[in-house]
Subunit: 420 residues, 2 copies
């Protein structure tokens, strides 16, 4: 059989067509398929609507050799994926009595007070010729259907059920049906750069990579407070792809230098945490306009209690004085948003917490509070150690949340560069 | 002409087919179209690939009467949307010299050191019969194309350009082409409930609504730390839809009571902020396992400096004692994760910050640090005023970030219920 190489992902669920929800399962599915050398050509979202779904399934099967559907496998009338896919492939659907018993047994085993509702028998309906994939974390089994050279894979929508089931399929049924080529991807993250200038500097590499034995392709994306460079290499096997990708990553780092903070797609807070652990340093943060975001980002990283001693959100001037020892005269003279105050915050928390590194951030996140001299988006970041301190004034664009995030990014990055 | 009623959204960009990025423009577009009574039947993502895009455009035009494409209008070879849509509609593409001059003038006006690169002339290419839509925030103009009763609308990908342009189109070209019916939606948010029990309680309302003159439909969604109920009403005009929706919302609140924290889709931090402002109360938070997340969520709300006096992230026992006055003996006797410590944190920050409400949270966010008695996910939340205090032990499931979020949600909700 021809190896699978072109995939489409179809997310099923009317809630995914409202302004409130977006499909994220496809990101995980894409990562898994890419590792097997399968490209995702397009993805679609359709509601719980038999007619629309039937059209979407047929249109996809005209274009790709692997169609992954997620969602719509539950027991209610809204769950139409099983039936519609069977119809698109011209298959009958029959109850698998063994599976009904397994779903029933699952109800008993989980200690539910009531027996399995009869409605759940719908989940034991199986199209002719389909292979059933066990769901260890829910009642809806997955389905694998082959039609000539093409495959349709049905997965349940909840990520906690979809993830383990897909992992099992990737290691068994899918593995046998792919070509052996492998696409590997890496996300390189950097700060303190302009996208267009970065693109210009990297263009010679793009040219070189495109004609290499294992070609590497690149996409550059400006995100809030950082730039991401996504590289992908497609080689005859995972090892060859990885080797080409690693060489490309080294070239990028050589060109861009210290602005690159991760070649593994890691968040800045994790990179900084690793640096603090490696140097056995402890840190404390004093925040005004970031309002706890820096501490929260630092504590998103498992094990951060090893290096984060404390954080203080000093919104009021009194709190700055009481909790950080910032001299009220400095605030009166320079204003709360000033380099002397940010430095006093960084030094104050450093000495009070008795840690190696102190961080101070003060600014105007908006939408109110700006002045002609210090407009909304003005943020002062400071960092201090026993024998080193630095402060810098930034002017960020965007709404309150965007200013907060960019300010937290600038603060984490200042410490990262200091320790690198 | 037949009014537009069925839409599809097509996001164009190869980065949206990687594991790293998802399309979010479609949420905003959906909200705008729904307001005009236009349903989104499906949405798709395709890469910067002429062949795939051509198929996607043709397939969509077979199914809907309004196709909104976003992205792929830039000046580079990757930007194929203009050309492909013109081809799908059988139109020629010609340079609009007036537009070239406007793009050139924009370069000059923005004070760029260099003249407009010739590559940008591509953005002045217009399909025959298309109406050009001005882009006030970027160089790529939008396009409006009619083909019989159907419309294709091309918008730029950056949200800061797309949003204002879509708003302008909604108020002019689109407004003239819709039926006058209006779909209005509302998201009701609640805490402290189980999804299945909620669904059961609401089922009689669903039945009543489905046969009403202006039918209201409902979707219930369990999210982290909260449940959302999405209601939508489609009536002959916005006023009728709004009236039916408001009546439905009142019925829901009557059934679910105080667990509902917003009938306007607002976040819990905003709801709590409004309560604090209405009562002229000030708050301070003492966080351990949430690591600043509660303070950061509170300060996401504009104007939060009016009520948040300070926050303290007391990760270490020393910080709990020094910054909050938590007696070291209490920690030694009950452990840092205990109701006496959480209460001491809440009372400590309340008295030190001289505010009306103090919050204390301590727990084990994981992945490490759990014990048989206090496994990962154990979180104690406390809140205190001058004459009232409360504490409660929670056991949350999920990873570190999920535990942090649920703990922050429980803390904000405890204060909300206290003030409601």
């Amino acid at each position: 059989m021809r190896p699978l190489s072109r995939a489409a992902i179809l997310a099923v669920g009317s809630e995914l067509l409202t302004p409130f929800r977006t499909d994220t399962n496809s990101l995980h599915i894409t990562a898994q398929l890419n590792r097997l050398g399968v490209d995702v050509m397009f993805k679609s979202v359709v509601g719980d609507d038999r007619d629309e779904l039937l059209h979407a399934v047929r249109a996809a099967l005209d274009r790709v050799d692997l169609l992954v559907c997620c969602g719509g496998l539950g027991p209610t009338d809204d769950d139409v994926t099983r039936d519609v896919v069977a119809k698109a492939l011209g298959r009958d659907v029959r109850e698998d009595l063994g599976m009904t018993e397994r779903i029933r047994a699952r109800y008993v085993a989980r200690g539910f007070a009531m027996p399995m509702p009869e409605i759940n028998r719908r989940q034991a309906m199986v199209p002719t010729g389909a292979r059933v994939i066990e769901n260890r974390y829910g009642s809806a089994p997955g389905l694998w259907l082959e039609e000539g050279d093409r495959v349709v894979l049905l997965l349940p929508g909840p990520p906690g059920e979809l993830g383990p089931m897909l992992a099992a399929v990737v290691d068994s049924l899918l593995m046998e049906r792919v070509s052996g080529t492998a696409i590997v991807r890496r996300s390189i993250k950097m700060t303190g750069r302009i996208e267009s200038r970065t693109e210009e500097q990297l263009r010679p590499l793009y040219t070189e990579w495109s004609s290499a034995a294992v070609p590497v392709s690149a996409t550059i994306l400006a995100a809030l407070g950082q730039i991401e460079l996504h590289l992908s290499a497609r080689g005859p096997a995972a090892a060859a792809s990885e080797a080409a990708l690693s060489a490309a990553v080294r070239q990028v780092v050589a060109v861009l230098g210290g602005d690159v903070f991760s070649t593994e797609g890691h968040e800045l807070e994790r990179v900084l945490g690793d640096l603090l652990v490696a140097r056995a340093l402890r840190i404390a943060v004093a925040e005004s306009c970031t309002g706890g975001l820096i501490a929260s980002r630092l504590t998103d990283v498992p094990g951060s209690s090893r290096y984060l001693e404390r954080g203080v959100v000093a919104y009021s001037n009194e709190a700055k004085t009481e909790l950080l020892g910032v001299n009220a005269d400095i605030i009166a003279e320079h204003g709360a948003v000033s380099e002397p105050v940010a430095l006093a915050m960084a030094n104050g928390i450093r000495s009070r917490a008795r840690v190696d590194v102190g961080v101070g951030v003060t600014g105007i996140a908006g939408p109110d509070g700006g002045t002609p001299e210090k407009p909304v988006g003005t943020v002062v970041v400071a960092a201090a150690t026993a024998d080193w301190s630095r402060s810098r004034v930034f002017h960020f664009a965007g709404d309150r949340a965007q200013v907060k995030f960019q300010a937290s990014q600038a603060a984490l990055d200042m410490v990262r560069r200091m320790l690198s």
